[in-house]
Symmetry: C2
Subunit: 371 residues, 2 copies
């Protein structure tokens, strides 16, 4: 009996209800027993070697918007950001404690932004391999609690493809993460098509995670700390997604699956206008309408947007099978994200799909449920 | 009896219905008689002198994204864009015919993007005055059919304020239009505060209309014709609005009203994340949460987003009193925009407010309804 059925049955028994409810809530805080199974799908982590390289970047005078956040986390943390690095580096006991405390069953781990995409090519290639090895080890140590996305270095598409193949075939990872642009370039450009082709062939999704707007669009984001999650991230990833759709690149890779967070980076909200202005035709290389690509090639997660109205809009617009739950740990707090998926006005079927079912299907996550 | 009441009453009289329906539809094509009164609030126009200056810009090698659209409309029109210029220049008989054909009662006219904002300061100041005079004449000739927003040259804030005062006090215009950035600068910058102050003092809204992303953010929009309505416009105006909110500029002008089109340029969809990441606090100059500014200082129009789901989301998120109907004539076709406002799933009260009531209040439009 799930929680809401239990509550419904009990509604006629007012005298007994209070005591029983307390017991149900107590049961809920024990993970994975007769409650909503929850796979969080945009959960960040790092490894010391990459943290050290990012600290080196933080010490440079590089006039790039991502460097601001890197300084905040790796060099001169504020009260707000001080807890991020220890949390990112823990891919074991403490993280699992935190998950248990809030009834989160699994984290789909991914190397935190900007991944290896700000390193020179050789460093990027080798650190992506190292990160993948470490994440695979963490999954191997806790297969019931972790799954993981693989990183690669888009700086060298050929070696990226090799690492993608290794990550899926040898390490058994669940897909890939790319932190939007690489040196101001986007995945629609033909030099990156081998990456799209490999992901499609491996039947493994690419999660396009935000980073700050690329240098070529940075200017208006340089004030009021607009470069990051408050605004810049969404413009950056949204622009990346629109490039993928309007370039026609996805016509070559009809089975490619791309996942984007933050309730779809507002793309679902824009679909009517994208279709009206971006339909195939005069001087347009795309063969499908943007909404057709979006429904075919994309799925979204709820990371950082715990808004029941936006969730309902997205379900109604793109279908419940394309929506997955995420926390965005450690950047967003776990408790409200859990409360959001447990209490948002959804049918039981919708809630199960969003909380874990879609993630199991899309990322091929094998779940070891305790009986 | 309005149309839907009539249809409801008639639903029991199947035999008579067909003939009566034809009569009702015939009545509908006569504007302003027992039907939904409709004020379209983002309706573009131009004057020959400004068209000529834009044609001069189109002939230059200026490497700016707005120049692409200007070339398309003013220099080398395609099959799609050829009808725009004649439609823009007609602020009389043909436009009213088009309105009558679709049952549109009023156009709130505004000088089409990029207004005078790409001209040198002297040209901009004098052409804004000229455009305001012409639009005021058109309103004076057809006061039951037109209202109008005034232009000004942000290039010279001091003279802009003078023209704003003249436009409201002497010409009786209904507010202002600004086409987002001016030379890459946004209205949150203190040099433009006199403009915000004047609009607040005159109790006249500023409509921030799109133009292509400013040069400092142009790079990723240079491919696949992404600079304009399909994507760039929304990023540009959205970024402008977020700057106004996060800068704290609106703390100085609590009664300023800003209108944005295109279903709020996705800002309503982002409000949860904007609040979470942009709440007042550590290193944030804004005194209110973004959603508090948005509800207090902004209203939106439906131009170019005829999506009933997005409309419902916005009503539920920001309130029906802040939503107005628009066509975006001549860039968007009138018939579907009319169908949208007539058939979207709304209560009668919501429909009346969105179709005309809110526009009458926000833009102080005096309506001459035929009895």
């Amino acid at each position: 009996m799930d929680r809401r059925t239990a509550l419904g049955v009990m509604s006629g028994f007012a005298a007994a209800a209070a005591a029983d409810l307390r017991e149900i809530h107590a049961q809920e805080s024990t993970p994975r027993r007769g409650r909503l199974f929850k796979i969080a799908t945009e959960e960040a982590c790092s490894i010391p070697e990459i943290a050290e390289e990012l600290r080196n970047i933080a010490r440079t005078g590089w006039d790039n918007l991502d460097v601001l956040l890197i300084r905040d986390v790796y060099l001169r943390p504020s009260r707000t950001t001080a807890r991020f690095l220890p949390s990112l580096l823990d891919i074991g006991a403490h993280r699992i404690e935190e998950m248990d405390a809030h009834g989160v069953d699994m984290h789909l781990l991914s190397l935190t932004a900007p991944g290896v995409q700000m390193f020179d090519t050789e460093t990027a290639v080798s650190l992506a391999q190292l990160a993948n090895d470490r994440l695979a080890e963490a999954v191997s140590a806790h297969p019931a609690r972790f799954a993981a996305l693989a990183s690669f270095a888009p700086q060298d598409p050929k070696r990226a493809v090799k690492e993608m193949e290794r990550a899926i075939r040898e390490l058994g990872m669940n897909g890939f993460v790319v932190n939007s642009h690489t040196n101001g370039e986007y995945l629609d450009q033909p030099k990156y098509w081998p990456i799209l082709e490999a992901a499609e062939a491996l039947d493994a999704p690419i999660y396009i995670h935000p980073r700050a707007p690329s240098d070529g669009m940075a200017a208006p984001f340089r004030d009021y700390r607009m470069e990051a999650a408050v605004w810049g991230y969404g413009c950056e990833v949204g622009t990346h997604v629109v490039r993928l759709m309007l370039s026609g690149a996805l016509d070559r890779f009809p089975k490619l699956k791309i996942v984007i967070g933050h309730m779809g980076e507002a793309i679902p909200f824009w679909l009517w206008r994208l279709d009206f202005m971006g339909a195939p035709g005069e001087r347009r290389p795309n063969q499908l309408k943007p909404s057709e690509y979006f429904r075919r090639n994309f799925a979204i997660t709820t990371s950082g947007v715990e808004d029941p109205l936006a969730l309902r809009y997205c379900i109604d617009r793109i279908g419940v099978d394309s929506v997955m739950w995420a926390i965005d740990y450690p950047y967003q707090p776990t408790a409200p994200a859990v409360k959001f998926i447990e209490t948002a006005p959804l049918s039981d079927e919708e809630r199960e799909k969003i909380a874990h079912g879609n993630a199991e299907r899309i990322f091929r996550i094998r779940v070891a449920r305790e009986s």
